[in-house]
């Protein structure tokens, strides 16, 4: 089984990235992967956001794929992302089940 490339991109204007990182590390641990193997990168400027095609904070990518791809019309850039949990609640972080599912798909 291969080890996927895991990235977490964040911006300081949103306090949610630590929770997102904790959820991501828990999912990695559950999957038997190294929870320390996350490339955590801070996005500081608009130019950097554009270069990274950063849709907002926090963003988790597994092998370059967003675990919950942004919808059309989402603003992107230096902003906080609005996620939806599977039960419909608005959240500042992705649903942990979406993260686990993305990890499973990447390892297949």
């Amino acid at each position: 089984m291969r080890t996927p490339r895991i990235e977490l991109l964040w911006w300081e204007g949103c306090p949610s990235y630590e929770d997102a990182l904790a959820d991501l590390r828990a999912a990695l641990r559950e999957a038997g992967l190294d929870p320390g193997a996350v490339d955590v990168r801070e996005i500081r400027t608009g130019d950097q956001a554009e270069g990274e095609r950063f849709p907002g904070s926090p963003t988790i990518r597994i092998d370059g794929r967003d675990v919950q791809p942004p919808g059309e019309g989402e603003p992107g850039g230096l902003t906080c992302r609005v996620y939806r949990r599977r039960d419909g609640r608005i959240s500042a972080t992705p649903d942990p089940e979406d993260v686990r599912e993305a990890l499973r798909a990447a390892r297949e």
Binding site: C14, P15, I90
Partner: protein, 178 residues
């Protein structure tokens, strides 16, 4: 750097327009026993998740004479979802709000009050003195908390008690300054 309002400070008075174009006084002495002013916006997950709880509280405490005002101070040039037009559209799409949604276009109120996040909740008494500042409750994801910290503060004010928990840490997205 502006330190913002602290507990016991008098909230400075301003006037801001709501989504119908009507002007509302924000801060200063008020006719009712308490006024809630919360800074919020259209694009932040924390502000969105907490808003129904705040609107519910606004509707319920209106019966006690408490006035609620939601204020959006974000820079709409960089964040078009927070423009005055987008605020009007949101209120319309949500079937109207039970409280006024005000536009702080120049950010003068947010700066004077020292607001930091959306949401950032302030309560002042009838004399305009700040008696609570912080988050609505402990968790934006848990609707059952029902803005407990804010409600506790209002119940204390309405019972002429000192607010037992006058300050909590505001949690949310940073205000988008110009």
């Amino acid at each position: 750097m502006n330190r913002g309002l602290r507990i016991g400070d008098v909230a400075p008075a301003y006037t801001l327009p709501d989504t119908n174009g009507d002007e509302h006084g924000v801060g200063g002495a008020s006719g009712g026993p308490a006024t809630v002013v919360y800074f919020t916006c259209n694009h932040c997950p924390y502000a969105l998740a907490w808003n129904d709880r705040l609107l519910r509280a606004g509707e319920e405490y209106a019966e006690e004479g408490v006035r609620f005002l939601a204020v959006n101070p974000n820079d709409a040039e960089r964040y078009p979802l927070d423009s005055y037009e987008a605020m009007i559209e949101r209120v319309r799409n949500e079937g109207g709000w039970p409280i006024p949604y005000l536009r702080d276009e120049t950010q003068v109120v947010a700066r004077a009050w020292g607001a930091r996040t959306t949401p950032d909740v302030f309560v002042h008494d009838r004399d305009g003195r700040v008696v609570y500042r912080g988050a609505p409750d402990a968790d934006h994801m848990d609707d059952s908390l029902n803005a407990r910290w804010l409600r506790d503060a209002l119940d204390d004010v309405l019972s002429d008690r000192e607010v037992a928990r006058p300050q909590t840490e505001p949690v949310g997205c940073s205000i988008k300054w110009k």
